[in-house]
């Protein structure tokens, strides 16, 4: 395969994920998504399209949500990365995780980690002031099973609980 004709140097790099610094040896082409899933065993973050179009791979970098599939791991060594695994405090779910359960914001659950990461960011950004605004600012996360109404309710309940 063409990919193997030109093996790149492996590079040593460190990623700080959910508060823990982890050392890795990777090719520069490894995405942040693949580094998390394949190399760090953090499979909560999902790979949908791998093209920036579905939002399943949403993680927080320095508190800001991005698509990890279009990010290269090597470019995020200075950053604080939070994945869905980093939201709960021990056994206590993050309020957004609990709200998704309470409001049936999940069906097959594949898009759910990305939706929750986006929901948390959406409230933090102040972009969940109304259901219409929530829909607009959650539009980067595509759910094929159609639990959108439950998702909007879950985001609304967390925003309201925060006052």
């Amino acid at each position: 395969m063409a990919e193997q004709e030109n093996p790149a140097e492996l590079v040593d790099l460190k990623l700080r994920v959910n508060g823990v610094t982890r050392s890795l040896r990777l090719e520069p082409r490894v995405s942040l998504l693949d580094a998390l899933r394949e190399h760090l065993g953090l499979t909560g973050t999902k790979k949908g399209c791998n093209q920036g179009a579905c939002g399943a791979c949403t993680v927080h970098v320095n508190g800001v949500r991005i698509n990890s599939c279009l990010a290269l791991a090597i470019m995020h060594q200075q950053d604080d990365i939070t994945t869905i695994e980093g939201l709960a405090q021990g056994e206590a779910l993050h309020p957004m995780q609990q709200a998704f359960i309470d409001h049936e914001g999940l069906q097959c659950g594949y898009c759910t980690p990305g939706q929750i990461m986006s929901g948390v960011a959406c409230v933090r950004e102040g972009h969940a002031q109304s259901d219409a605004q929530t829909r607009e600012w959650m539009s980067g996360n595509v759910c094929r099973c159609g639990c959108y109404n439950g998702i909007v309710e879950a985001v609304r309940s967390v925003r309201e609980a925060q006052g």
Partner: protein, 329 residues
């Protein structure tokens, strides 16, 4: 994705030299265009020069009320920055209508200007495409062309410039500040992108080693009263079928200055000096806007599936002019 070497640049001059010294090297900012195209092997750089460490992130006021936007400012920051929201609402509106919140947090202003077309054949290595492989032919002209351009096309390529922000910026006389191996220069944004002609692989006047440092937006009454309207197949998170950026300065019932640019229909961000000339001196009426819309689409050429864009773009422009004038005329 092909393998590549990676280097993080510390100073703008170093980044320029690193790309100048290696013909296969490319700058990477947010990576939301470049990594996407590398994954489907349309782009296969030998080296990526990461420019995120460069001091090009600031959004600052210019003397006279304008704003300078650093090339590495993120789309999300620029969209909600008070200087942009107040002085250049069309730019803010265009950014907020672009991509998704996650992408806007990652993508930079420089990268946004240089995003590539979304023509499906450009991304598909199995089919001919003159832009990707010069001389192989254009699959879109006789194929799926609903989303392709109607202005500025050629027999070689009818790919649409897909971005939103550049359409608003081109209407508002943006100036791009560039550093090359021989020093700094400025390029008017309207001259940055070029029509395909018989060299569709060449999309801008920049060389690969030319680094965008910033974009300057000059203040003006028509800029403060500007509007961006985007028409698309779904309400959010979709590229434009048609879009229009307008800016009007109306005083004493007459238009003193007018700005008109179209998106989704041109092979580059499409400014229309013809429409602007027709508007100046007129009362801001539906008739005047209709005449300007006719002029803006004069010379447009529809293909098998996209001729509908010509009347749609005219209506989009009329509505955007009404919005810039402060509601339905």
């Amino acid at each position: 994705m092909r393998n590549f070497a990676y280097e993080a640049a510390r100073m703008p001059g170093d980044a320029v030299m690193a790309v100048a010294q290696d013909t296969g090297a490319r700058f990477i900012a947010g990576g939301t265009t470049l990594v996407d195209l590398m994954r489907v092997n349309v782009e296969a750089p030998s080296k990526l020069v990461d420019i995120n460490g460069l001091p090009l992130k600031g959004i600052t006021a210019l003397p006279g009320g304008g704003v300078r936007i650093g090339a590495l400012a993120r789309m999300s920051e620029v969209a909600e920055h008070p200087l942009v929201v107040q002085g250049f609402p069309a730019v803010s509106q265009a950014l907020l209508a672009s991509a998704s919140p996650q992408l806007r947090n990652k993508a930079s202003i420089g990268g946004n200007l240089l995003q590539r077309t979304r023509c499906p054949y450009f991304r598909d290595l199995a089919l001919p495409c003159n832009k990707r492989e010069p001389g192989t032919g254009c699959s879109a002209i006789g194929g799926e062309n609903k989303m392709q351009a109607v202005l500025g096309t050629s027999d070689s390529c009818i790919a649409t410039y897909a971005g939103d922000m550049a359409v608003a910026m081109v209407a508002l006389d943006a100036v791009v500040r560039v550093r090359g191996p021989r020093g700094d220069r400025t390029v008017n944004l309207v001259d940055l992108h070029v029509v395909p002609g018989d060299t569709p692989q060449r999309e801008t006047v920049l060389a690969p080693e030319d680094l965008i440092l910033a974009v300057d937006l000059p203040a003006a009454p028509h800029a403060a009263r500007s509007h961006y309207l985007k028409v698309r197949d779904r309400a959010s998170y979709e590229f434009a079928v048609t879009s229009a950026a307008t800016g009007l300065d109306v005083q004493g019932g007459r238009i003193r200055a007018a700005r008109v640019a179209l998106g989704g229909v041109g092979t580059k961000p499409w400014r229309s000096p013809e429409a602007e000339a027709l508007l100046v001196g007129q009362a801001p009426t539906r008739e005047a806007f209709g005449a300007a819309a006719q002029a803006a689409l004069r010379g447009a050429r529809g293909y098998s599936q996209n001729a509908f864009k010509i009347p749609l773009a005219q209506r989009t422009l009329i509505r955007a002019l009404e919005l810039a004038a402060g509601g339905p005329a």
